[in-house]
Amino acid sequence: MTGVAIVGIGMHPFGRFEDKTVTEMGVEAVRAALGDAGDPEFQAAFCGTAYSGVAAGHKVLGALGRTGTPIVDVEAGCASGGAALMLAAGAIRAGQYDCALVFGIEKMPKGIIRSSFFEPWREEAGLAATPAYFALRAQRLMRESGVTKDLLAQVVVKNRRQGVHNPDAMFRAEVTADEVLASRLVCEPLHLWMLCSPNEGAAAVVLRAAPARDGGGPGVTLAAATLRSHLPGSALHEGTPLSGLADDADIPAPTTLAATAAYEEAGLGPADLDVVECQDTDAARELLSYEELGLCPQGESGEWIAEGVTALGGRLPVNPSGGLLSKGEPLGASALGQVVELTRQLRGGAGPRQVDGARTALGHTVGRGANASVVLLQR
């Protein structure tokens, strides 16, 4: 079977850029990725975005004079970029294309994200407060996994420390646990600094057909790219239902479904991983991701953060880029931003935040829908 190589990466930094359009940010990221790949001809383009409107991908490629191929905009909430990557990789594996461009762009509204996802009555009743759902998930994690508020703060301290070295991040100053816990209480147990900021940015990758399981070359291989939705049952899954079942112990989370499929597709497991970029919409979400991705056993995510397992220099560094807590979250761009970071890590070009000798990497997003994506990379 045909393999898929990542032959080019490009980023527009994540942050707030008042004087730039989402198209301009996309142009910068795509131009950089195509340049990195040696300016290849691509036969299809996939654009992940949630808030950019109709034919957003066409505007980017139109501005670059690179239209004519199919251009498909993909919306899958926080996993939009992962969904775009899955479609492109699948088409290359099937022999439909030799080379495909995948990019993600976003310019988020400010404040709590207003989504067309909720019916108006849910907003009117106060049942559409996104951070409140995060808080309920955090409270259950604290109860079931021995996580404390101080450990939630430690997640922020870790990611912000790692983000200091990422020029593409929005926040590049270290914070202390005391400062995190002194920031405004949004929804107990979550304080403002434990929540990522919706923002703006773009990321792009170029994929090319490659001999399967190459292994010998210096290039980076896309070993798996999966997308899954939720199974019904959990009251607190990211699809934000109005009810769930009390007996939900055997219902896998969307993240677990995507991860299981990705491990199987790549013939890899959590023990093979050297570096991870995971969804840290809020501090508890990162810890939940450790458990749902199978990085640590159920109930042990608190111990992992306490023992520094996932800090740079630890056994399995998570979010060396600083994560969404440092970068902010431009929905359509966030999954591909992770792929750009992980490709830099596998190429050995991540500078002061390099994970030494990294060969196998996992990227993960999860959010509204529910949508969860998992990407596995190898060199």
């Binding site: 207003r114 009117e124 407060a129 409140a132 309920l136 107990e188 009251a235 009810s243 079942l245």
Partner: protein, 132 residues
């Protein structure tokens, strides 16, 4: 004369939440639907759900979310009903020191906000049983 309007039709009566029970898989769901969200069967019956349950998760919302015109802070959480259902709901208590895991809760149809013509908009919520 100003009246009372439920925030949405079909969710509750003054006495109980309106849910559904599936004849195929026997699970309950809320809100009531014509198709079971768990197995896809259309053999579902509308039922009155229990007006009491236990508290499973909670927080307080401190800033008004988009589209919300009521007061803050307000309690928000999950109440487990005897039917084996966990319902996402407003809570009539936002002082978190007065809430605990497994606490007995009771349904309360409570005012949300008032419209310009004086109509009171009401919604479902749960309050600690001893206060109801």
């Amino acid at each position: 004369m100003p009246g009372v309007r439920p925030v949405h039709e079909g969710l509750f009566t003054p006495e109980h939440l309106i849910g559904g029970r599936c004849d195929a898989c026997r699970r309950h769901h809320f809100p009531a639907a014509t198709t079971c969200p768990y197995c896809g069967s259309t053999a579902v019956t509308e039922v009155a759900l229990s007006d009491t349950g236990t508290l499973w998760a909670w927080t307080a919302v401190t800033a008004p979310p988009p589209g919300y015109r009521g007061e803050v802070p307000f309690g928000f959480g999950v109440v487990e009903l005897p039917e084996g259902l966990r319902v996402i709901t407003r809570l009539g208590e936002s002082d978190l020191s007065r809430l605990s895991f497994g606490q007995a809760m009771k349904l309360d149809i409570a005012p949300l906000h008032e419209e310009d013509d004086g109509t009171a908009v009401v919604t479902y919520s749960f309050v600690p049983s001893e206060c109801a």
